[in-house]
Symmetry: C2
Subunit: 428 residues, 2 copies
């Protein structure tokens, strides 16, 4: 793993990315046609695309509950226990994310407030094949349920030999209300506009290929969508008290996800940097997903050596990593210096995979530096707010001159007259 | 104004919209080139586009503080007082939107928590000409400031005869830190990527023309953006206790915004419906912006007459209006029936323009039915969350088997090994 030993300014420039969203016009056009087709032809369009794209002739689009129950009944008890532990911890953490509204009655005759309401129906997109993770289903469905979403439905591409039973069992554990066997852009269209079988939802969550991502962008506005998920990142800040074998293992746990994953170590110890680099090399040799992890380490990974602890944090804040491990002698000493990170792991025993599975905080996190402005998926993503005001006549009278003044400055006479109609100073 | 008297199911169908985001490929391509140019050429590109598009040769891109101070000094004291009243009420309301994180230490050896941090820098896009509203500047800048955003900057197209002084004065009152004279897609590119003059921001807020909207979509991911603003809506639920003259004035206050604005009244009184319709006609005759308002009333507006109070709310929840007035004898009786609305105005004296200017709740609201899943602009839009975990060795040991089980079910051996590296059961 390459070790970079430059001044802070050069390092900051190195990690700053200027990426522009490029549109693939051919994909855009294909997706647009699929969406129009699903709006017009509903289930018939879904069946056609699943036949053409996935080679599956669908008997029924909605998966029978008995198939889900069967998968759950046959689940390895060890896996079931692990999922139930994860569910308990995810639930107890996310329950603390619940927000409430407020009421304000501090001025005579004025009542103001804000109320929170859950979204009514949410759709989870779960990719097919090896990218369908049972753990991710818990991480997306449980916060929705805790928010009070009435109906959480899931779509996933049909598979010739059936949908992954561990995913089905996880869906049952997470309380998913219905599963529809449809994938790709057509699944996104169905969730956005509804068909005979698939109900229209208010928000669509979950990662997918370029067709899914493009479809989500195109239906945005008709429904809400979650953020664009990029490749995974791990950033580690470590001093010479850290164990290089453990750091290497943690870096590789992210590197094995994706060739484009970014494993990053920032340290003030050149000796540690060299030891971690050597450990990465030796561990890569015996890692099953070594091709993926090696590509990520070589093309995206680096170890930066800086002089001061403050510099480690400043550089890492520029990276704004999805996962941030603090492997310092005193991991809580510099908590105040963390500005941008999705999820933070403090100390030797908070290894990143702990957060992927059982600790409880969400593992759907802002990637590619978006921790600068976005948050882990949470209960707050499944609620919306409504403001309320009630004024007495006296209270309105007091503020009416200010309202009509501003309305007329903005050239909106109708606004002024609406207020004046309450006071018989009306123009007719 | 047309009166519709059909059964609830037909009415619900009537108000449900299935819209697809259509991409204008020519605009997409133009905007993409502008963004690339600004990334590569910075200020020089900005100057070129302002020369070409707005016919203005820019001396300096950053507006001199003395110009802003001068506008503030010359502001009509009545307008200044009105803006200061608005600021006080907006501030006291939005301060209640501030959220805090939490700490959780309910299991031995396990510390979990969540911390909220403000975005560092935010950019406000303010359109030129008549669409630049001083009130909107307060509504966007103040929540950012209350959230703790370090720097709130504004961009606005340069005007040959200078930027609207009321807008400049409002910017000063709202605490905007800097104003840059640049508009269109090039302004969005500058905010997203930074130039010599314009600093890169973390989030871009504010409405604009199709070039601005397309540019925001293209830079999304590099920075956060706010929602897509559609035409304004007002929905009124009223019984025969309401004053038809006041209802007509309130409907027109939204209709005058935009030819595509939707003024909607739902009532159980045919007599009220007819009286409001007549009042709309007579008030339109003497309204300055009558052309715009008449188009909105005729093309987008309607009055629906239904039988039951519950039906009024069910139909209005399908509309999911930006603004909702409850003009019932007992406006709080049915608060529990409101599911989808941006801002709710209760009773005779909560006329909608009260909320536009001085009441305090935000007037940047979800439009076009998006109140089904989105919220008024608020302090929560300018913060982000970071999760934390810290485990002792004993706590990790307890959950390690569950982690390694799930990691291996998902085919992620590197994840399992990262955990095992803490317990000397490592593979090397």
């Amino acid at each position: 793993m390459k070790i970079i030993n430059e001044d802070l300014a050069s390092l900051k420039k190195l990690v700053q990315t200027k990426t522009q969203q490029l549109t693939d016009l051919k994909v855009e056009a294909t997706v647009r046609n699929i969406i129009t087709d699903v709006i017009q032809n509903g289930d018939a369009a879904l069946r056609k695309y699943e036949e053409n794209f996935d080679g599956v002739t669908l008997d029924q689009i909605k998966l029978s509950p008995s198939v889900i129950d069967e998968a759950y009944a046959k689940l390895d008890p060890k896996v079931k226990d692990a999922l139930l532990l994860a569910k308990r911890n995810i639930t107890s953490f996310h329950e603390k994310e619940r927000a409430t509204g407020f009421m304000d009655a501090e001025q005579p005759g004025v009542l103001r407030g804000q109320k929170l309401l859950p979204l009514k129906r949410v759709g989870l997109y779960v990719p097919g094949g090896t990218a369908a993770y049972p753990s991710t289903l818990l991480m997306s469905a449980l916060p929705a349920k805790i928010a009070g979403v009435n109906e959480v439905v899931m779509v996933t591409p049909p598979q010739k030999d059936g949908i992954n039973p561990a995913v089905l069992a996880a869906a049952k554990i997470a309380g998913v209300d219905a599963i529809y066997q449809v994938g790709g852009a057509q699944a996104i269209a169905a969730l956005a506009y509804g068909t005979e079988s698939v109900p229209a939802v208010d928000k669509i969550i979950g990662p997918g290929n370029v067709f899914v991502a493009t479809a989500k962008k195109q239906v945005f506005g008709q429904v809400a969508i979650d953020m664009v998920a990029g490749p995974s990142e791990i950033g580690i800040i470590a001093d010479d008290s850290a164990d290089p074998r453990q750091l290497a293992a943690d870096l590789l746990s992210q590197a094995e996800h994706d060739r484009r994953a970014r494993p990053i170590l920032i340290t003030d110890s050149l000796k540690l940097a060299q030891a971690v680099s050597a450990n990465v090399t030796s561990q890569l040799e015996v890692l099953p997903r070594t091709a993926i992890a090696t590509a990520a380490v070589n093309e995206k990974g680096f170890i930066a050596v800086v002089q001061r602890v403050e510099d480690m944090f400043e550089l890492m804040n520029t990276v704004a990593p999805e996962h941030l491990e603090i492997q310092l002698r005193e991991p809580t000493q510099y908590l105040n210096l963390i500005r941008n990170a999705g999820s933070v792991f403090l100390g030797k025993y908070a290894s990143e995979p702990l957060g992927d599975y059982v600790a409880g905080p969400n593992h759907i996190l802002p990637t590619s530096g978006t921790a600068r402005f976005s948050s882990p998926l949470g209960v707050y993503d499944f609620v919306k707010r409504t403001s309320f005001i009630q004024y007495t006549k006296a209270a309105l009278a007091k503020e009416a001159p200010a309202i009509t003044t501003l309305a007329r400055v903005e050239g909106l006479e109708g606004h002024a007259r609406a207020i004046e109609s309450r006071f018989d100073t009306y123009y007719d």
